[in-house]
Amino acid sequence: MISIVQEIFRDVFDNEELIITKETKSAELKDWDSVAHIDILIALENEFSLKFSIEEAYNIKSVKDILDLLEKKKLNKL
């Protein structure tokens, strides 16, 4: 799943060489601001056919938060 998330990050930040890991936090990426955050969420919603609530969007501060949330939402779908 992280490879899909990485592709989304590369698209949003317009950087084909960007490498993210589970440990990557927002403070480490200069342009991870509210605009990028929304773009990431919309791309994730489209990719995985799901919706994030505002509260969920509020609590994401790292790639780990994204992966954990995707995992949780995937389980809820089953």
Binding site: A27, E28, S34, H37
Partner: protein
């Protein structure tokens, strides 16, 4: 401890806010260079119109959100966002939106808008369920202008931009110059402003256009000849550039269906006073309504330039984007929010 704390600013925060603008935005920003102008723009009675986010440990400012209040009572007013900046490399990427969310909960405004949003931020507003769009930019060329020094037109096609008014009723109205506060007050009190969005109070208009410390505005009332009743007020600003001058319509209050009569009157004023052209930005006005005036929509033409930036002058078309939580029946002009804000401090401004 929270990573950050958001609160409404107090007067004692002024220096910290200005310093944040200086270090995190632009060292020569007009608010940095002209503190009095900052106070004019953001100080209301008993309030400094900013929300600030402070770092949980260092207490330094890491984000600001300024606003302009269109009346004396936030709860029933229109609020325009003006100046929104968050530091990069933050532990919370959503701090900007959290500032906005805090403003909404704290002020509880009836309506919320911003004119002059960055195009790349439209996704945020759409995500929040707001309406976004680009303003229309209209212009009228003085029929007597032979050489354009500010606008750019392909010379061979100038005639296609000139058309006569289709309006036959504007002769039933007069355009009267308003001279000072009493004139404006009398005209405003006769206006039907109940259903206007945004709702602009007399206090707002007085501060915005009569007490502006840098710009001088020409204010006119459109009156019915038969009743002497004021049906609209318009706020104009002359800009001098390249040894010539243009007239910009900055704001309008009154019955929107009367704007055609008003524009026909103003175009006469443009011809008589040797302005190169007049222009105005707007959103929400029926395009069909404006087709009865001699003004043209810039979107309908290629290779035409009607500049928007004069401080410094840039001969380039500029799109202005907006968002609003209204769905319809709103009318925005360039004077809304902070889009008609000077960019050069007093004394250095030739406009």
């Amino acid at each position: 401890m929270n990573f950050f704390n958001i609160r409404h600013a107090v007067f004692a925060d002024e220096e910290k806010i200005i310093n944040f603008i200086k270090t995190d935005w632009k060292a020569d920003h007009i608010f940095v260079k002209d503190q009095d102008f900052f106070r004019y723009q953001y100080e209301d009675v008993g309030s400094l119109n900013f929300f600030i986010a402070e770092h949980g440990i260092t207490r330094e400012i890491i984000g600001i959100l300024g606003y302009i209040n269109y009346s004396e009572n936030c709860k029933s007013s229109d609020i325009f966002l003006a100046l929104w900046k968050v530091r990069s490399h933050l532990e919370d990427p959503f701090l900007g939106v959290k500032l906005l969310d805090y403003l909404i909960k704290d002020l509880d405004p009836q309506r919320l808008h911003c004119v002059g949003i960055n195009k790349k931020t439209t996704g945020i507003y759409k995500y929040m369920g707001y309406l976004t769009g680009a303003m229309d930019h209209y212009f009228y060329l003085n029929k007597k202008t032979k050489t354009f020094k500010i606008a750019y037109f392909p010379e061979e096609s100038t005639n296609e931009f000139i058309s006569e008014s289709l309006d036959v009723f504007s002769s039933d109205y007069t355009l009267d110059l308003l001279d000072g506060q009493e004139d404006l007050k009398q005209a405003y009190e006769k206006l039907n402003v109940i259903n206007m969005i945004p709702s602009k109070s007399f206090g707002y208009l007085r501060k915005r256009y009569l007490l502006h410390p840098i710009y001088k505005y020409q204010i006119f009332a459109l009156k019915e000849k038969w009743s002497d009743k004021c049906v609209a007020i318009v706020f104009l600003r002359e800009v001098v550039q390249n040894q010539t001058k243009v007239l910009r319509m900055i704001d309008f209050v009154g019955s929107i269906d009367k704007i055609t009569y008003l524009l026909n009157k103003i175009t006469n004023y443009v011809d008589e006073n040797s302005y190169e052209y007049m222009d105005f930005y707007c959103a929400g006005i029926d395009k069909e309504l404006l087709k009865t005036t001699p003004l043209k929509n810039l979107k309908d033409f290629k290779n035409v330039v009607i500049p928007n930036y004069f401080e410094p002058f840039v001969q380039q078309n500029i799109d202005i984007f907006y968002f609003t939580n209204c769905k319809e029946n709103f009318y925005f002009f360039k004077g809304d929010g902070d889009q008609d804000r000077p960019n050069i401090p007093r004394g250095k401004n030739e406009c």
